[in-house]
Symmetry: C2
Amino acid sequence: MTTASDTPALNIALLGGGTVGSQVARILTENADALTQRIGTRLNLTKILVRNPQATRDYELPTEYYTDDVDEVFEGADIVVELMGGIDPARELVLRAINQGASVVTGNKALLATHGNELYEAAAEAGVQLSFEASVGGAIPILRPLRDSLSGDKITRIMGIVNGTTNYILDEMDSTGASFNDALAEAQRLGYAEADPTADVGGADAAAKAAILAHLAFHSPFTLDQVYTEGIAEISDLDHKAAADAGYVIKLLAIVEELDDPAGVVLRVHPTLLPREHPLAAVRGAYNAVFVEAENAGELMFYGPGAGGAATASAVMGDVTSIAKRKLRGGPGRTHTARRELECLDIGEATTRYMVVVRAADASGVLAKVAGTFAEHNVSIKSMNQTPDQDSNDERQTALLAFVTHRAKEAQLAKTLEATKQLDVVDEVLSVMRVEGK
Amino acid sequence: MTTASDTPALNIALLGGGTVGSQVARILTENADALTQRIGTRLNLTKILVRNPQATRDYELPTEYYTDDVDEVFEGADIVVELMGGIDPARELVLRAINQGASVVTGNKALLATHGNELYEAAAEAGVQLSFEASVGGAIPILRPLRDSLSGDKITRIMGIVNGTTNYILDEMDSTGASFNDALAEAQRLGYAEADPTADVGGADAAAKAAILAHLAFHSPFTLDQVYTEGIAEISDLDHKAAADAGYVIKLLAIVEELDDPAGVVLRVHPTLLPREHPLAAVRGAYNAVFVEAENAGELMFYGPGAGGAATASAVMGDVTSIAKRKLRGGPGRTHTARRELECLDIGEATTRYMVVVRAADASGVLAKVAGTFAEHNVSIKSMNQTPDQDSNDERQTALLAFVTHRAKEAQLAKTLEATKQLDVVDEVLSVMRVEGK
Ligand SMILES: NC(=O)c1ccc[n+]([C@@H]2O[C@H](COP(=O)([O-])OP(=O)(O)OC[C@H]3O[C@@H](n4cnc5c(N)ncnc54)[C@H](OP(=O)(O)O)[C@@H]3O)[C@@H](O)[C@H]2O)c1
Ligand SMILES: NC(=O)c1ccc[n+]([C@@H]2O[C@H](COP(=O)([O-])OP(=O)(O)OC[C@H]3O[C@@H](n4cnc5c(N)ncnc54)[C@H](OP(=O)(O)O)[C@@H]3O)[C@@H](O)[C@H]2O)c1
């Protein structure tokens, strides 16, 4: 066994010492000996860039570690760990690290989903590593397995619960019957939701992760703005009831898939109904899970805590350790530059199942008319369930009809709904939700 | 982009062309172009070693591919893929491949759990790769994430459903009320269980996987014979009923964990009760899942098909592709030689919870006596449920008392049970099962 003293220590500079950064600092200092033994050299935490070097912090280190001087942080750094978040100045600092020949580890999904390609190419050109396991699914090892373990297979589709805040809210609503606002307030109280929950609730955070997952799965560059995105704030009580009545649970899923005809990918984030038996349906609270479909492997799922300082720091440390080991072994590292140029298709090309709830006259022949309209547009109905309408009145007796369809294109469904609304027997289309799983 | 024609093809030799081997051959030939594009060089399937080169096979290749001539198979091989199973001649052939400088991919858990250390050391010495993702959990990427993604964390415990046959049988018994024999027959009909199901039902297959998981998690060499093993054939109807009544499901788990006091690991395979809300409890049919607890990452789970030709071939191809990429990039590969020498502790040191069902006199004071005996031995009771005894008769009224304990050492429980049996109010200890999860 080579002893650690044979090889020079590697200098680790941290950009950011907040929720995740402070836990990375803790692991680097508390577990220094174990890490040295595991890697074969010492990881030497040099400096931590923060806005306010004097602030009191969760994990207390001697104040010499903290600085707001960028030059000081970069001095002699072999590996730069970016955990400050946001685009500016994170983007310039990551590029600076790459250009000085340091490898970079980041958990910054917003940065990668907007400027990823620029960074991957800069890293490849400079011959340094850029790793970002923590950017999707927190502690869950998902990016590396997609890249390495499934490298001999063809990934066809990924569906992920990649935002813990929204999963917590939806799970609370489903299991306790809480309202959206109460569930959100509870999530904020528990620290699962930010004071400004827009990025989580509106789906932007999940969309950034969808772009990163698609990049890894399909080897093409994608950005956040290519992801069709619907959040969870518009889910109505009737949506929840209709889903539960039919044995479904509502999850906010990031779905990325490759299509053959037309060739390309569809990237989307939206509330989705899943049968209660689906493995993703069992993901409770703020947990995350990524469900992967591959041609040969079949259906895989990766589950774990999607956030939290220590958990996310574990993923960061996995990247740091791998980079450190590779630096010792020598040889060039992996690159993430795009190998293909797949087209990103319009949401209209996405194929999924739907649940459609309409208010219609409670009379014979109504089902035939609605079903006929669906059939005309080649949307085939898998099941129908009729329930009495609470709002029905004496003037005109109405009923609620909940249809679940087989798979059809979004564009076809849109036309079907247009035509359905024109039917004289149909008062209103009350709910339209996408359905996945068998 | 470098073109594939720049670099020489890599020769792949297959040892075994059965369930998994034939699917590896299919992927190598059918997906040759995609693999070439992905890797940067061509993977050239040279020969397939089989017992009977003339046999008709699931996936038909020109007969020139098949041979029973070992020398012919090894000629010019850069990567040798061992999918024949068994110890002999697999062991000699893997060593021969290593000694001729070829890297090896295998799915052979029996071989690794008995002679792994010899092979890891031979590979390290020869400077070749030895990869075995397919040996645990079929298609599930689990070994590489343990090794790479969690390399900056400390794994404390792994609990795995790593045998699809027994999970299928237990799930059938739980969900349909089938008897063990009927469920086994059904598993055989569906091809999930072998004609001779001993290795699956008796736990030996899971024990081999436990040894491999422990090696990867704790960086120490372990063998199959160090794993305490109980199968599922002895689970009684009363066990099933008591588990279900208390809200548990029975799973055959492979559990490996590191203890501090005394320092060492405990490796065990046995039927285990899990609360129905536990992520592993939702693993249905022949699926596998591995639940990992790590100091910082918290609780992770990896889920997917644990067997099947194509699924297992996906894991094999992940290893082949990684080795091929590394060969192109240059630089030495990873080794699996043990870094530590952890002691393997007796099952008596294992700490778990228990469900104990006793038949006792249906009289006041009985609970106090039994609880007192447990307390004397420092086994603390978490819950108790009393049900009428069907076999109770007029002579002496009896009842069934089901206790669930807090965590205690196996050795402590053994003493507790001895003392409980001596109590005059206790007729019989009817069932003792281990319980995991919160
Ligand atoms: N939190 C999670 O569970 C989680 C999970 C997965 C991924 N991530 C990602 O990890 C990154 C970090 O998240 P976090 O939760 O740790 O963030 P955080 O708690 O807000 O910490 C940010 C840190 O960066 C420093 N910083 C921010 N802007 C700076 C600037 N312009 N100059 C110097 N220092 C600056 C802050 O300094 P002060 O301390 O002085 O304010 C703070 O230490 C983000 O990209 C996030 O998306 C987080
Ligand atoms: N099946 C699964 O789902 C699965 C999952 C995970 C891991 N694995 C592991 O993968 C390995 C292969 O499993 P499998 O199910 O593919 O086995 P299999 O169907 O029994 O195939 C074994 C192959 O090896 C050949 N073979 C066996 N002994 C030989 C010998 N002495 N000389 C020459 N050829 C010999 C056989 O030749 P013939 O065809 O001429 O008989 C056959 O082609 C095993 O280690 C198994 O534990 C299997």
